[in-house]
């Protein structure tokens, strides 16, 4: 059986382009090209170095609305209906994603259709139509999302977003990418034009292509993106979230029968840091995303059947409910350690608050354990073997392999890049290195926790009283589990009354 020989190359073209090359030394490239010539597919990725951190005050959501308008609207060449008509027979489309620091347009096409596809894709970025009716459509859709969908159709994603909001309040990361209801209402088409003019410059764009593209295609992409005017953007300082002292609680009051829980705290760790593989391994053992490998999953779902899943993260992981593999192009200079407990429901007689607090206590206690005692040699070895194979899935498509290379460019990770080197780095880890990284980065004393629940006052009271929260089961449990439950049920959650905030669902993300 043949093997795919797969060569990753980040190419920097120093000459021969319309723009004189004065790219700052810190930027590894203007073009990322990842050739896999045998593939009939081609992925394209255009990264604009702007994100929600660049939203003006009072216009939060502007970066996202701008990218949305470019992606799903008329260009100067084609009305939106014509674009839909042209994309349709190719079964193609393009995506946009706006995160705190990155805006990325991406798409994938069969090589039969590359030329007409690229023309549409390119036009959407370099020659947007900025039509009033398109703007009205996108803004209305966004407001509908903000007012209804975000608050009322996915409680677990909401709890995760609220955790970031609580931790990064007062910093450029402090608002959700889509903005607030009132800030988006305030955005005009003129705001979008001005934002586009300021940030969508040829000096602020990196282009990427992967798969079976023709030899001259990468250069052509770059050349055509250079139709954008020149312009450099000054870096804004890295967000510095306020230090957290003790456990701070946000309870969102909502009529719901199941309570999602998110908690976490800032960590000073990025993918490019030497400690990253060590913490990646430890976190994989503690809470690998949507796998039963997760220790939290074992403790809360597998043994106790309290919910559908329980995971932890050392990098931003938006929309985790819809993906098995890490999201790409959500690179950030400031990260948090985050635990996601999927909604706790009444899976046996008792009260919901007792069950929610029991689940939180379980997770908090497990976190304290791993932070204090580190991993065992056995767990370390198992996880090392696991990740050696499992991490191969992270680059399972051409589009993802390309997106990882764009993220390498963000973090300044040298060739051959994160995906191509992580297995080697994991293999080189030692248990003392992992446990030292763990001790340095993780703790269970100072953090924010978010609950979405009905009867918020009841939950607040229960937390402050420090009462035991015992639970029952639908089935028979081994005595060892019942014994441990007694300890968990009274595991301390030290919280001061002033550190509990209750917010009604209608106020959530309404305004700054």
């Amino acid at each position: 059986m043949r093997k795919i020989l797969f060569l990753a190359a980040v190419l920097t073209f120093p000459t021969g382009f319309s723009t004189p090359l004065a790219w700052p030394a810190a930027d590894p490239g203007r073009i990322v090209a990842l050739s896999e010539s045998e593939s009939p597919l081609i992925a394209v990725n255009v990264w604009v170095k702007v994100g929600s951190q660049n939203d003006p005050q009072g216009k939060e959501g502007l970066a996202a609305l701008t990218a949305n308008l470019l992606s799903d609207s008329s260009t100067r060449q084609d009305a939106y209906e014509q674009i839909l008509a042209k994309l349709y027979p190719m079964a193609a489309g393009y995506d946009f994603n706006v995160d705190k620091e990155m805006t990325v347009f991406s798409g994938q096409i069969h090589r039969d259709n590359l030329a007409p596809y690229w023309e549409l894709f390119r036009n959407s970025i370099v020659s947007p139509g900025f039509k009033a009716e398109d703007f009205k459509r996108i803004k209305t859709q966004t407001l509908n999302f903000l007012k209804q969908t975000r608050r009322f159709s996915n409680d677990e994603e909401l709890s995760k977003e609220l955790l970031y909001w609580a931790i990064f309040k007062g910093t450029p990361y402090g608002h959700p990418e889509e903005g607030y209801v009132q800030s988006v209402e305030a955005i005009t088409l003129e705001d979008v034009r001005a934002f586009y003019a300021k940030y969508y410059t040829r000096d602020n764009v990196v282009v990427g292509v992967a798969g079976g593209f023709p030899a001259d295609f990468a250069a052509r992409m770059r050349n055509e993106m250079d139709r954008l005017p020149p312009g450099r953007i000054a870096d804004i300082p890295k967000p510095a979230p306020a230090p957290i002292s003790g456990i701070k609680v946000l309870i969102v009051e909502k009529d719901t029968k199941a309570t999602p829980i998110s908690f976490g705290f800032p960590i000073a760790l990025r993918r490019s840091d030497p400690d990253f593989p060590a913490l990646m391994l430890a976190n994989s053992w503690f809470g690998e995303h949507r796998t039963s490998v997760s220790h939290l999953y074992q403790a809360i779902r597998e043994i106790r059947g309290m919910n559908y899943g329980d995971y932890s993260y050392i990098e931003a992981y938006p929309k985790g409910y819809s993906t098995q593999v890490p999201p790409t192009n959500v690179s950030r200079r400031s990260q948090i350690f985050e635990v996601w407990l999927r909604p706790i429901a009444m899976t046996a007689p008792g009260t919901l608050h007792d069950r929610s607090l029991f689940a939180f206590r379980t997770a908090l206690r497990e976190l304290a354990f791993i932070a204090d005692q580190g991993m065992t040699a056995e767990a370390f070895e198992t996880q090392q073997k696991y990740l050696n194979n499992y991490s191969v899935n992270f680059g399972n498509t051409i589009g993802r392999r390309l997106a990882y290379r764009m993220d390498d460019a963000f973090y300044g990770i040298p060739d051959p890049g994160f995906l191509a080197s992580i297995r080697k780095e994991l293999a080189a880890l030692t248990l003392p290195a992992v446990n030292s990284a763990l001790k340095k980065q993780l703790q269970a004393q100072n953090l924010w926790v978010v609950f979405i629940t009905s009867d918020a006052e009841g939950l607040k009271k229960k937390i402050l009283e420090g009462a035991e929260t015992n639970i029952t089961y639908a089935g028979k449990q081994p005595q060892s589990v019942l014994d441990e439950d007694k300890i968990i049920a009274r595991y301390p959650i030290p919280v001061k009354p002033a550190d509990i905030t209750i917010v009604g669902i209608d106020q959530v993300f309404e305004r700054r």
């Binding site: 045998e38 096409i109 509908n144 608050r151 009322f152 677990e156 593209f213 043994i303 046996a348």
Partner: protein, 447 residues
Amino acid sequence: MRIFLSTMVGMILLNVLPVGLAAEGKIFPFDYQLVQLENGFKAYLIRTPANGQISYLTIVRAGAREEWEAGRSGYAHFFEHIMFRGTEKYPNYDAITTRIGAARNASTSLDVTQYYITAASDSLEQIVDLESDRFMNLKYSEAAFRTEAGAILGEFSQGRANPYLYLAEKLQDTAFDEHTYKHLTMGFEKDVRNMPEGYDYSISFRDRYYRPENCVLLLSGDFDRARAEQLIRKYYSPWKRGYVPPQIKPEPPQKAPREATVAFLGRTLPILTVAWKGPAWSATDKLAVAAEVLGRVAFGSNSDIYKRLLVQTQKVQSFSGAFSLNRDPNLLTVMAMVTDEHDLPMIKDEMEKTARRLRSELCDPRSLSETKSAMKYEFLMGLETPLAINFALRDIVVSTGGIEAVEDYYRTLESITAQDVKAAAAKFLMDTGRTTVTLQSAKESNR
């Protein structure tokens, strides 16, 4: 057979085209081999580019459709969870998949329960051993069963926050009287709450549907074919036959249009869905394939109604109308999230008018050929990873028990004419076969 030459020198690109297949007029670009055992078990060995990985997909041809006994909705899905609870030989399934770094998961839908593992090629024997063992020898205690019922209820509860789920539930319940498509995969709430009591039934469910003649393995990726065949023969041959078909009642023809409303206990813009009773999936029945084409021509992202309502007048926030078919006749569904509730009657009328027009007029030939192109490229672009390749073939296995029909299907698609599309509209988009469900917020909730 497709030959890949993998040559890559810097930026000098060699476009190696799949010579041969195009000439034979085949769409599926990979060579495969069927291994069929005496007990009825079938395995398709599909070699694809995979960079040292394999995808191992076991398809159990049983889903919510098989839940024909009263009070037992949701068991196909429940059983999917139970399948990870181990055997005597391997009491801790997860410990083994963890050790080999395999990504494993499973899911259940109306017609199928699927179990999939993505792993390094050198784990093949362990995976064949592990998977065949649990399909034959799964062992779970009543206590473990009851604990898992808790996880199911958690999954059910988190889905309650989503308006589309409520709508889909009401739609199936309204449109169907007899057939098991009356309920969705999660099951009726009362049945889900009663699951901890269903241990004995779960064993009977397993005994009837988890049998070799009702299961198909798709193995895609990078592996040695002879070795894979040998392993499959060795490990799956002891599996005993015993499939008992479900006693699903056919749905009697619908005689009049139906309508229902549903109140959502959160907030949402109104969602309107209009659905017609459609055909079962088929690779060779022109009317069935034409019905899929019809959905896209009439209501897809390049249709008149889509552009008018979503782009021009902006009366809807979202609009979708793809007619996807099931193993038995199910619904052809159009759905819209409506900006202003006062427009609901107008939008419903537009949907019905579109259906009437397609019944009486031939569709635009360009729209037809572009739709065929879209369907073809959707399939081809979906064949990227071994797992995606397996998924792309799954529905064909569900309906036919094998993957061979993939070529028939795309040949039938190629042959569809505007007359066929009109005939499908005339047959399926009938007023009498229509069910309309509107979902709106329960106004006084969440204050």
